[in-house]
């Protein structure tokens, strides 16, 4: 288990002391947005994540890669406590966002999920109009304000998701009439509307064609200026293209976490190397 970027030797047992990144984006990487320590996750008696420790930095894109069932999605979903809705789910260890333990008793889970947005593998727009999809989160969080304010927020979110020009003339049409790629960008707009500061993306492009995928990837690149993005992907090229940091999961454990170029060119672990070179997975 490891925690820190640019640490030359990854140790599997003891958490490593904080190391300073030596190159690039030094300031950003000194800050820690999400700080997870010794987190384990259980579905009933089954342990799905084992002693994960990781520090995720603000305004960078962090990719989680690994073969199916390795726990990368489960881990992503512990970061906005989405796993709480699964009966029998249990978490050990701590996960802090901006220094606050999100699993501490009395934490406002609803507020947490508003600050930590999520985009799912399969686009899941509500069966409502395009406008109402984006407005939904604003309405339920009491952020709708006046009609003009609401319309302004919706437009802003759709612009951020690079969707505005395509839909501005048909905001009242059903979201389900859009293409798959548009629906996924709508889901991103919907997540951005409530102004989260972290955006979790669970294989957001896995159901899309290459062109729609490219648009999502460009979007991720643009969004990292304003958001901390964590993206789960089974597509290694995608991780290489969009992310600054990459974490490799295997069998519920975090095997290696480092700068993306390092993971893909000079991984410290044999397992990582085998995976990124396509020897398994």
């Amino acid at each position: 288990m490891t925690g820190q970027i640019a640490n030359p030797s990854i140790r599997l047992k003891a958490p490593t002391p904080t190391a300073r990144p030596t190159e690039g984006a030094a300031n950003r990487e000194r800050d820690v947005k999400i700080d997870v320590e010794h987190l384990s996750f259980f579905y009933g008696a089954k342990r799905a994540l084992e002693d994960i420790s990781v520090k995720i930095h603000p305004n960078v894109v962090t990719a989680f890669i690994g073969p199916s069932g390795c726990g990368k999605s489960t881990f992503l979903r512990t970061l906005n406590r989405m796993n709480d809705i699964i009966p029998g789910a249990r978490v050990e260890g701590t996960a802090r966002i901006d220094g606050n333990d999100i699993y501490a008793p009395g934490v406002d889970v609803v507020g947490l999920r508003r600050r930590v947005g999520m985009v799912f593998q399969k686009s899941n727009p509500f069966p409502k109009s395009i406008f109402e999809n984006v407005a939904y989160g604003l309405r339920i969080n009491g952020m709708a304000g006046s009609k003009a304010e609401l319309a302004g927020r919706v437009e802003e979110s759709l612009r951020q998701a690079a969707l505005w020009d395509e839909v501005k003339d048909r905001l009242q049409e059903s979201a389900l009439a859009m293409s798959g790629g548009q629906q996924q960008r709508l889901c991103i707009a919907r997540a951005l509307a409530v102004r989260p500061d972290i955006l979790l993306m669970d294989e957001p492009a896995s159901a899309l064609d290459p062109i729609a995928t490219q648009r999502i990837e460009e979007l991720v690149y643009d969004l990292k200026k304003a958001y901390t993005i964590v993206i789960v992907t089974h597509n290694m090229q995608q991780a290489a293209r969009v992310s600054d940091h990459t974490a490799f999961f295997w069998l519920g454990r975090l095997i290696e976490y480092d700068r993306t170029d390092k993971i893909f060119t000079a991984p410290a672990e044999k397992l990582t190397e085998d995976y990124v070179t396509g020897r398994f997975g």
Binding site: N80, P127, S129, I140
Partner: protein, 304 residues
């Protein structure tokens, strides 16, 4: 293989055709048997209130009114309860309670209507009577509560219908809610929805199916005969009062069919059957149409 396919298509097609022709045949036969009354009274049959077998005067308005009024009241009472039960069982209920609750609601649907009627006479009607007596005079002055507190009457009929409709509506609504993808709830939760808001999103997603469930209950209430006959008071009058004994189409047919001596009387009763048949078809058609228009706005297609 090919000829077997054709045979299969023909035989299943024949079943479908038989079903459709049964509906047509029922309509045809009801019209034929009631021709005497149709010719004599024409459209007046639908809008006049005199039901006098001795004088040979037949108007079905009180029965139409009684059927629609009792069914709509039952729907108003049963729908929130049924949806509440469906939501509780499918979304909120601890796992251990789920199976017993499902079993109990389905058991409720299996109780014969005559048993409901007996329960109505011995339990519901006295309870309704004491409720009616306890009602303050200021409210008794309203047309909704006018008339003597007999117990038997519209309110008892509506309540017993509601009890009978709840298991149907809640079972269908529950199944519909079960088909809502987890992704819809997750989408709501991920945006900071409370559990209540996430359930509302799920209900919205399933709304066409839930309307279908409610309409199924309505159809059942319209045709329900025995239990209603036993508690509604069987008095043909058009009254808005919940306390007034009234009559329904199904009840009058059940009560008077065996004693209909002359042909016109018989034809009039059969015509009531025809009217009930038409109203049921119209209600089903309207609910179908409602579901289609909701689904047709594309937004609901996935929920159909």
């Amino acid at each position: 293989m090919r000829s077997r396919d054709i045979g299969f298509r023909l035989s299943t097609g024949a079943f479908a055709f038989v079903l459709a022709s049964i509906v047509v045949a029922i309509g045809f036969e009801l019209s034929r048997q009631s021709m005497l009354s149709i010719q004599k009274f024409g459209f007046d049959f639908w809008r006049t209130s005199t039901w006098d077998p001795v004088a040979g005067q037949f108007g079905a308005l009180p029965f139409i009114w009684g059927t629609l009024y009792s069914s709509i009241l039952a729907l108003l009472i049963a729908t929130p309860v049924a949806i509440g039960i469906a939501v509780f069982i499918s979304e909120l209920c601890p796992r251990i309670l789920r199976t017993p609750l499902v079993f109990l609601t389905e058991l409720l649907a299996a109780i014969p209507s005559i048993v409901y009627g007996l329960w109505g006479i011995f339990v519901l009607v006295p309870a309704v009577r004491s409720l009616e007596i306890a009602l303050p005079d200021s409210l008794r002055a309203l047309p909704l509560f006018s008339g003597p507190p007999l117990g038997v009457g519209m309110l008892s009929a509506a309540l017993i219908l509601a009890v009978m409709v709840v298991p149907f509506t809640s079972t269908v609504a529950r199944e519909v809610l079960r088909t809502v993808p987890l992704a819809q709830r997750e989408a709501a939760y991920a945006l900071g929805a409370t559990q209540f808001e996430a359930i509302r999103a799920a209900i919205f997603y399933a709304r066409t199916g839930i309307v279908g469930a409610v309409m199924l209950g309505f159809g059942r209430a319209l045709g329900e005969t025995m239990a209603v006959t036993m508690v509604i008071g069987n008095n043909p009058q058009v009254s808005a009062s919940l306390f007034a004994p009234q009559y329904t189409m199904a009840a009058v047919i059940a009560n008077e069919f065996t004693e209909a001596a002359d042909e016109l009387y018989l034809a009039a009763l059969v015509e009531i059957g025809l009217v009930l048949f038409i109203i049921t078809l119209v209600v089903n058609g309207l609910s179908r149409g409602l579901i289609w228009t909701m689904a047709g706005r594309k937004s609901g297609r996935a929920a159909a």
